[in-house]
Symmetry: C2
Subunit: 188 residues, 2 copies
Amino acid sequence: MQRGFTLWFTGLSGAGKSTLAEHVAAELRRRGLQVEILDGDEVRTNLSKGLGFSKEDRDTNIKRIGYVCKLLTRNGVVAISAAISPYREIRDYNRAQIGPFIEVYVKCSIEALTRRDVKGLYKKALAGEVKNFTGVSDPYEPPLNPEIVVDSERQREAESLRAILDYLERHAWIPQDPSRAETAQRRV
Amino acid sequence: MQRGFTLWFTGLSGAGKSTLAEHVAAELRRRGLQVEILDGDEVRTNLSKGLGFSKEDRDTNIKRIGYVCKLLTRNGVVAISAAISPYREIRDYNRAQIGPFIEVYVKCSIEALTRRDVKGLYKKALAGEVKNFTGVSDPYEPPLNPEIVVDSERQREAESLRAILDYLERHAWIPQDPSRAETAQRRV
């Protein structure tokens, strides 16, 4: 059976966590792994209806995602979380609960995010129209020692994806890409 | 990979759902399957803190268990729920969400449960000291068409366990018991 682990994305809204999570998931499925993405919005609907965006409610929500990741992980599934998860303490709590936990910090400056602002949320937050907005009116605590850092301001998506897959291959969390392995063999 | 499914126990408090769930889980693990039990109390702590025992809160709790069962099931895990789950509509909602869903009704009369009353809860409920107590001061809706019925008033635990395993084997949800399969072969 495959080894389960949790791949925990963290970063500001719009930094590219969900997109990267989907690309990683697609690639891991291509390699025959069981993968489940826990997306912030879907989890809020299914596990955390009624919770808001106060520190306490955010913490509860992130712990619930962590609990589900734990159940999946210990049953051999790759669980991928793509929620903002702004507080270091709660991410570390989940790490301790889950065990095989790989943190991916998706770095991007507020300036770059405000320039992109796909959903127009940063403009609203900076104008004070959205309360408890992480990075503007609510804190974001970057991880001190994440397993993987990708910089969505300077790296292209394909590079970030490559960096994550490289890490997972190097630490034998996932099998080598079958097509690349073949190429490597032909070279020998 | 193994086929995931959800084994959904339902029945009154004290009927024997959790004990049976644990025996089934142990036997399935012995046969090499990945199994996760979602116990009512543990789930309340981890996913439903703050919810009470009103119909709405119970429904939310049972839907959350159903959601986690769905994630496990679609990743090839056997998810076992052992919560009372008193309302037919919500069990059927979970069935529709999950797909491979096998309902086990653990039958036992209130009279027998009051005689046993391991935790003393029925006495308290009948005296009006515990509110919203399923089967006494709160409704319990037995399933109309469960895949499996066990009668914990008339059957011994080993018989109930056998009935569940037989069903799962007959419908090829689980592999035959390796030791029994061998015996059968020797007979031929």
